[in-house]
Symmetry: C2
Subunit: 114 residues, 2 copies
Amino acid sequence: MPIPLYQAKADFFRTLGHPVRIRVLELLQDGPLPVRDLLAGIEVEASNLSQQLAVLRRAGIVTSTREGSTVVYALSSNDVADLLRAARRILTDMIAGQGELLAELREAEHTRPG
Amino acid sequence: MPIPLYQAKADFFRTLGHPVRIRVLELLQDGPLPVRDLLAGIEVEASNLSQQLAVLRRAGIVTSTREGSTVVYALSSNDVADLLRAARRILTDMIAGQGELLAELREAEHTRPG
DNA sequence: ATAGGACTTGAAGAAGTTTTCAATTGGCTA
DNA sequence: TAGCCAATTGAAAACTTCTTCAAGTCCTAT
């Protein structure tokens, strides 16, 4: 019994839905990095970062390989970078759109609808 | 104090992270629809659908307009449709990738690492 | 005004996720 | 092999989201 595609999509987006996980993916967009560097770039405790990396690993979004005493993470597909770019575009538009909405709302306070 | 972009992104993805919400967005990809039609296309109680529509509305991803006694929903930007397509592509790749991974794992059971 | 249909809302409990801390593993060097 | 650093794990508590149900709004027709 295969998981329906809409469920898989929802799971995938839910996996992206955490600020630490987003920052990890953004940092990995320019190439693989050791945990040490992720830790330096994100304000979070080591054990919390590890938990979030585990979520990304379980979802198959990143891969980890041990190199000596450090562990290096990488995006498992560069389509993920595309997706993050698409999301940035949408968000930019939406924030701009909300700016307009806000302006309309402010106007509405003065020019009450008839 | 503006919300950091990585937080906005995480919130946005979290909003997409629910099977009913994904199906709503998929149904709206081809144009606006009244709630009645969404309800016909998704196996969920009316009140549950309403709750999920409210989540999408609050996030600014869909808009609703009342037309007589029915309410019509639409995507607020067609970039959302692009994003869903990007997600479908990634998911397809990932599922294929996981097929390979599975094959490797099965092999590993027989050819134990030395 | 009343009834009925379409949709939404509020609130409470159930279910799921996140954070945190202590304990643990794996590798390196003395 | 002892000690250390890097990273991970398990488990409990704190928090958030989801589902459900009863009650509510808004429109249309009688």
